[in-house]
Symmetry: C2
Subunit: 316 residues, 2 copies
């Protein structure tokens, strides 16, 4: 298994990316090899000093970096020598089996959608986040920002994608899928959720349990929580800020510590043909390690095949 | 000044409503009189036992109660003898100057919209909530659930209404108005916020400061935060659930204690011809007292006249 990692993406790259590589390689002895894409000079010195066995990775040099604030489409076009552009080329050419970056999210989406492309039948690939539940389980919330305007059919596809991810990667048996809404009863909500409800209810591929409200997000009522990306992004950023507040105010609590989103690593782009994982800009060593682990889990569990099969049935 | 209060609304009525009346009347000696609408038998015994000076209130008997889960339009039609129906009749007939209830929110909206009606020029009345900011100030978030689907023009009107409320009731000089969005720059967001941004930017009646994100909701970046009611409702209920989690986990913190929404009392229905205040179903004595105080402040500061003047200018 060959996993590609952008060593230049994120606020603390490449130092923390190298730490993540070491954390990962130290923790497992299987046949996973890494393709590390980044500035040759910086990486050579960091890797040599790290004590990582050099037979476990290959360095592919990049000459440019797409900065966090750059316009994604333009940057991808104008910087073919950037670590993100090279990563997608390697993925497209099957030289790596998954690609991971904590860099410019927009550029990662452009690469996912235009270099890798959607799985047939999927209209809008999506990104998600894990939400800690007070009872100890975790719920998957999607979409969290890529699809700001959605049609009911998009929410249905997010539900199926989230359900497959929860089942095969999070190992939740028969994941409970809920629609994030205002009001609990069928018929409540805005035009979008009112129209999405019957689609979810009548879909045999998921176990739909109805609406949940804002107050239920942190309660173990659902394993997969579906919404459009506008609401999802606001919920995610609000939850992150809540964690920051508790940290700043030095509140020590086992459950609130779970809101440290770093430990979740990154989010896969669900619905594209190959495994792509996007990390948070503030990713440190642990987050990079978690993302590599996630990539392995996605490949080991054949998630992409399962998604393809599921949507093949749908399009028949 | 004569303020009408539904004594039968909310989970702890009428006991806590009577407590709120006592709290309010004990705390001030001005000429405010209360019209208490409710079951005569229950109220008589509670009021007699409370030690409240009976010259400061009038009891208007009601014979029915609209329960929390009833269908609002149907209930308002079928229960003319209910405390909420009677309250709106008294308000319409100028027998009271404001009406307050912690009862069925939908019925309160039906009464506001169909008995009291919107101020000319206002397309969609709105409800709001106060959000505590870590720096000590409070921000107004609106809409929080009445208007699940909005047009850009609705968001503009919420901004104007929120701005007038912040200025005249919360006494914020030149309130900063922000659009709740995903992404900070102009052009970011969904179709609605993309279209609303220039309207807000070009409106001379407000001081628009741009977009804020989910992470900024608890930060003192804006005095008025505008969104459609779907997102606003989810943000409000999520914030309430944060508070519940911290309470349940016995976390003591000065700022997090501010999330106790009871102390804010209730929300005025902004944009209708007379002062209407809706309380939370879980309102206790303090919340009822705060709602009566808020009604007095709305009348003292001539908020409704100021809204009428502002929208008269707009419609000219």
């Amino acid at each position: 298994m060959e996993i590609g990692l952008d060593m230049m993406g994120g606020d603390y790259a490449p130092v923390e990316a190298v730490r993540g590589v070491k954390l990962f390689l130290d923790s497992q002895t299987s046949g996973v090899r890494l393709t590390l894409i980044g500035d040759l000079k910086q990486l050579s010195s960091l890797l040599q000093g790290s004590g990582i066995d050099s037979s476990r990775y290959t360095v592919i040099p990049s000459t440019e970096v797409i900065e966090m604030q750059e316009h994604p489409t333009r940057a991808m076009k104008e910087k073919p020598g950037s670590s993100i552009s090279i990563g997608f080329q390697l993925l497209q050419q099957n030289k790596i089996e998954a690609f991971i970056s904590a860099g410019n999210t927009g550029a990662m989406m452009v690469g996912s959608l235009f270099t890798i492309k959607s799985i047939p039948g999927i209209h809008r690939p999506t990104i998600s986040t894990l939400i800690p539940k007070e009872q100890g389980r975790r719920g998957l919330l999607l979409d969290v920002g890529i699809n700001a305007d959605c049609k009911p059919e998009n929410l249905l596809q997010f539900a199926i994608l989230g359900s497959l991810y929860a089942k095969h990667i999070l190992k939740v048996d028969k994941p409970r899928v809920a629609l994030l809404n205002i009001g609990e009863e069928e018929g409540k909500g805005n035009l979008l959720t009112q129209a999405a409800y019957p689609l979810l209810k009548n879909c045999p591929q998921i176990h739909f349990t109805g609406n949940i409200e804002g107050r239920d997000i942190f309660i173990d009522k659902a394993d997969v929580m579906v919404c459009e990306g506008f609401t999802g992004n606001i919920v995610l950023k609000m939850a992150e800020s809540f964690y920051e507040i508790t940290q700043k105010r030095q509140i020590k609590d086992e459950y609130l510590a779970e809101f440290n989103f770093e430990q979740y690593g990154g989010t896969p782009v669900l619905g594209v043909e190959k495994p792509v994982i996007i990390g948070h800009g503030i990713s440190k060593g642990l987050a990079f390690c978690r993302m590599i682990e996630l990539a392995c889990r996605i490949i080991d569990n054949r998630l992409l095949d399962r998604i393809r099969e599921s949507f093949l049935e749908q399009t028949r």
